[in-house]
Symmetry: C2
Subunit: 353 residues, 2 copies
């Protein structure tokens, strides 16, 4: 019997299992990271001047994390290529000395394949990072990396997202010539975050307190990816309005909409991004919204928080920060009688023109 | 007496006046577009390979529009530089052959000034587009362009946004060697959109129907900027949750959250972006949400729509599409007893670390 093919009968059972599988998936990916080192060697040989990501949805949040790695660790300016530029307007970019990285769980979206093909014709070095090495997207790229996440069946992506983050962390560490040594500890840290009773209690409490349908999430720097991805999980599986912001953008305008009926989630791990979140955090506390803090907790009495292991470097924190948010989305979906495995109106592979 | 210094006593009166001033501001900008041509000449002389924008908030939505112009009209790959990369992590980008364009109404945000200075040290050709040629941001850049929008006093940016769009449209037309001839008709088109009784009625009706606190806006291609900027106006001035999406991203996940209690706004002007919105539009109609369509109207009976002049090229449509959304935000804010000129918790110039 192949346990991976069991279809759980409980609502959100597939998503629950895939969330739990993440530390094992990371271990598997790390045991095969030679492929990432090889890709890094090939990329260095071409001496790229800048990086463009091609991605949509969850993978586009991984790209946002990758953008910080590229810019901060490697000094590469990095941007996102809009597939519409190619698919709607037929533009032919000039991409000499550009590394184009396409990220996609399925590797099956025609618009991504078409954009990657266009980038390659435009002179870019192309790399596809997918969960299916036999996918059309992987076939189209000069370099390809497998996420090794195993089949992902829930519509809401979880383990493929963190496998994308991990692949990017290893890749850009190699490209910078300074690999992030702590990657090897991630599986153990992930297990501890997923099994900590404190965290579990905070998530259950937050699922109770967050009974409205408006959410705001904020993080700075590397953790801005977590804010966006956490918001998407909540939208997909709980049918609420949830918006992810950089803490800096939040105070430029969206902040006005927050009152005590809006649930807020602040991602503020130790490090410069978390430090820079303190201003936004103070303002959120002043509004009196229900708040969940991801990071060293609770100067405010009664505040809900999920801590991360102290030694986690800021560059890797996004892999751990998203775990409680995936579980929060699942917990809220169950409370509202939604089957997170089958959100209304969505398909696992989206075909976009 | 300087009429520009009158402080209207009616709530949102400053925002109302600044919305109405847009066609005149465009005319003023176009009459001084030689400066844009000169900047384009200087830029072409340096033969940039790619473009990075530095901006936050409303100006970042202008940058999204600029990204499409750069990629589609000029074949330049284009991205956004995160100020945090510089201000939090002290990264030094390598930016030879990069054109860096900073966009800011005030030109006064220290994080943008610091990012632009860092880009210049990294070898970029720098251009600042601001509404204050004496601002610190303009002083820091090698090239500078004035928006000529006149003082903008409402916290919610309106005329400075469309002046940024127009400056970018003229600039990239020049850089592509194929100026968009129709820019000269924009002031007249803007006047007709602002004065059309049909549009006014649709906005008043939408303000009545959209009585909830959750909004979703969607557009494709050039018009995705309109979706994001329209959402920000609603968040700032009506205190609602409003999210702007590319129509393609919407159906990747956020779509699940939409039910008949969520107000939806589809931006679908004539052209390829509007054509590509039809799939998302059909789905939105099927959900039965209250819908406002910006574009050729109403296959669905009773549907609210605001049309744009037929001859507007897709590249310029965003300047006109945002006008009814600015007015909708103002109308809803008034209905809810909010003074749109003074949103809670916001300042006109945001100081970010």
């Amino acid at each position: 019997v192949n346990a991976g093919l069991d279809i759980p009968t409980v609502a959100g059972g597939v998503m629950e299992r895939e969330i739990a599988e993440q530390p094992a998936a990371w271990r598997r990916l790390l045991s095969q990271s030679d492929a990432i080192s090889d890709a890094a060697r090939r990329i260095r040989g071409q001496d790229p001047a800048f990086v463009m990501f091609i991605a949509r949805g969850t993978s586009d949040h991984a790209a946002l994390y990758g953008k910080y790695l590229a810019e901060v660790m490697c000094g590469f300016p990095a941007g996102s290529w809009s597939p519409s530029t190619t698919t709607l307007y037929g533009a032919t970019p000039r991409l000499d000395r550009c590394l184009v990285i396409a990220l996609s769980q399925s590797g099956g979206s025609p618009d991504l394949v078409q954009s990657l093909a266009s980038a390659r014709r435009g002179g870019a070095l192309t790399l596809a990072i997918t969960n299916d090495p036999a996918s059309p997207l992987a076939a189209e790229a000069e370099l390809r990396l497998d996420l090794h996440a195993g089949p992902e069946r829930a519509v809401a992506a979880t383990k493929s997202y963190t496998a994308e983050l991990l692949t990017l962390a290893v890749l850009f560490g190699e490209l910078a010539g300074s690999p992030i040594a702590e990657v090897d500890r991630l599986p153990e840290w992930g297990e501890s975050v997923l099994s900590a009773p404190d965290g579990e209690r905070a998530i259950a409490d937050a699922a109770q307190r967050f009974s409205g349908d408006r959410f705001v999430l904020a993080g700075r720097g590397y953790s801005s990816a977590t804010a966006h991805e956490g918001a998407l999980k909540l939208m997909e599986t709980c049918y609420v309005s949830a918006a992810g912001f950089s803490g800096a953008d939040l105070i430029h305008g969206p902040f006005a909409m927050i009152d005590s009926t809006v649930a807020t989630i602040a991602i503020a791990p130790p490090g410069r991004g978390g430090d820079a979140m303190q201003d936004a955090l103070l303002r959120l506390r002043a509004v009196g919204s229900p708040l969940l803090l991801i990071g060293p907790g609770g100067s405010a009495p009664g505040e809900l928080s999920v801590s991360l292991p102290r030694e986690v470097p800021e560059t890797l924190a996004p892999l751990l920060e998203i775990l409680p948010l995936q579980r929060l989305a699942l917990a809220i979906s169950r409370q509202r009688g939604i089957d997170a495995d089958r959100p209304r109106g969505l398909l696992k592979v989206t075909l976009t023109t």
